[in-house]
């Protein structure tokens, strides 16, 4: 019987060892063969997280021999740090408004040269004495498309690679886009009954919004009848839109006003030509104004930033 002799045939032993040798050779010889797509460089995650946090929560910093401040966008030659958060006090290094993104800072951010940007946001890895830059994309989206400010699409970076691991982090932010003047019914000035008049001085880069709250409604069916600019009737939808707020979204103003409503009028910025005083007349039905003019209340004196929700995404590879 064959069983009475050695249990392992030498041929079988040889075959098995060959299999093992071949497998281990393959694994050793082709590095990265069994590394799956997602298990790679974890430092990318940190870089993406850090970059997004700096951009969203820091106001940046500039410094020269005599001065310093967070308003680096006005001093592009001495930038130390880039951050996009809006700041009302540029002398302190902290901001009270993380997640609020300043328009001026975004516009300057688009102009910073590539080498400085990579350096200041720390998007590189130091190996020996050499810095290797990461590939990156930084963009702001609103309603699933890129944010456009002053005719520029807000996105920096390169095309996403097909076969590399990409670390991505998205932050919810409020981005300054247009301007708004909030006016209460008591402050609105009027020359003739039921017509509120606002003076507006152009030009504007972006559309402007007038917010009117606490109107003094009287009689039945109070409503906004028409809007005139320098005596010319404006067309709804093409020249301006009227809406109310419903959560984050704008819902068109339909029908009459009810008490406690805030209404918003958004005007096309092309209507207002450079350095000219314009007269904006809002004609209402059954709304009374106690404040008579001229002089009329000025949009430009009251205007401040209007922030809209958007998503800032940083991709690093």
């Amino acid at each position: 019987m064959i069983d009475e002799k050695g249990q392992v045939a030498i041929d079988f032993l040889l075959g098995i060892s060959l299999v093992l040798f071949a497998i281990s050779f393959t694994i050793q010889f082709i590095p990265g063969l069994f590394m799956s797509e997602s298990a790679g460089e974890s430092s990318l995650d940190y870089t993406a997280y850090r970059t997004a946090t700096i951009l969203v929560e820091d106001a940046g910093w500039w410094e020269n021999n005599t001065n310093n401040g967070t308003d680096w966008e006005s001093n592009p030659n001495s930038i130390l740090r880039i951050g996009l958060a809006a700041d009302d006090d540029s002398s302190s290094k902290l901001t009270n408004s993380p997640n609020l993104i300043s328009k001026d800072k975004i516009e300057q951010f688009m102009l910073v040269n590539e080498i400085d940007l990579v350096k200041m946001l720390g998007m590189y890895k130091r190996v020996g004495d050499t810095n290797f830059s990461y590939g990156y994309n930084i963009y702001i989206t609103q309603n699933s498309s890129n944010l456009i400010l002053n005719n520029t699409s807000i996105a920096r970076g390169k095309t996403l690679p097909d076969n590399l691991e990409v670390a991505r982090i998205t932050r919810v932010v409020l981005v300054e886009k247009e301007t708004i003047a909030a006016i209460s019914g008591d402050e609105l000035t009027s020359e003739s009954s039921s017509v509120a008049t606002i003076s507006v001085t152009g030009p504007f880069e972006e559309n402007i919004t007038v917010q009117i709250s606490d109107l003094n409604l009287s009689g039945i069916d109070p409503a906004l009848l028409n809007v005139k600019l320098d005596g010319n009737l404006l067309t709804q939808a093409s020249d301006f839109t009227v809406y109310k707020k419903d959560g984050w979204t704008n819902s068109p103003l339909a029908g009459n006003l009810s008490s406690g409503d805030s209404i918003y009028l958004n005007f096309d910025h092309d209507l207002f030509t450079a350095s000219t005083d314009h007269r904006l007349d809002l004609e209402f039905n059954n709304v009374t104004f106690s404040n008579s003019g001229p002089p009329f209340i000025s949009y430009n004196n009251l205007s401040k930033a209007l922030y809209e929700p958007a998503y800032l995404t940083v991709e690093v590879w």
Partner: protein
């Protein structure tokens, strides 16, 4: 001996190639979840949840009809029971900022030296990768009155309320 031996060598090589390829096919075909990878997804979830509460808190009226404080002020003191939510203005605002994310919201506050934790938005049982984001708001009687809420505060009373959001992806 030489007349027979070659076959085992070829079999061995063939088997090695087959095993290598089958293992390769499996590893390429599925997404491996490494611990780092899972961590980065959790971090993203946590970050975006905190952002949602923070942006809602600082939003001006022209951006959002009601900010976080006003949403909480409008609560009528009734707990939510699935599937009905009790704070629709907050629910709508969060749903807008966090598409594709499910969340429950609890609020916690001290009253008469007792800690009260109440459910205000219930969207189901959290998944196993759920994260919690917290944000504090301070209510005054003025805000509560303006929003028609049921908080019943004195005019000089401040009530600090913790908003706890448990968020997860489906």
């Amino acid at each position: 001996m030489d007349n027979k031996a070659q076959l085992h060598t070829l079999e061995g090589l063939g088997a090695a190639v087959m095993i290598t390829f089958s293992v390769l096919t499996i590893t390429q075909g599925i997404t491996m979840m490494s611990p780092q990878n899972e961590l980065s997804i959790t971090v993203q979830m946590e970050q975006i949840s905190q952002d949602a509460l923070a942006t809602l808190d600082i939003a001006q009226h022209a951006s959002a009809q009601y900010n976080l404080t006003e949403c909480i002020a409008s609560w009528d003191m009734m707990e939510a029971k699935y599937p009905d939510n009790n704070l629709n203005n907050l629910d709508n605002s969060l749903a807008y900022l966090l598409p594709g994310v499910l969340y429950n919201v609890d609020i916690a506050y001290f009253k008469d030296e007792n800690l009260n934790v109440k459910k205000v938005i219930v969207n189901g049982a959290p998944g196993k990768n759920a994260v919690v984001a917290r944000h504090f708001v301070t209510l005054t009687n003025q805000t509560v009155q303006d929003m028609g809420g049921g908080w019943n505060l004195d005019d000089n009373e401040l009530r600090v309320v913790e908003v706890r959001m448990t968020a997860w992806k489906v």
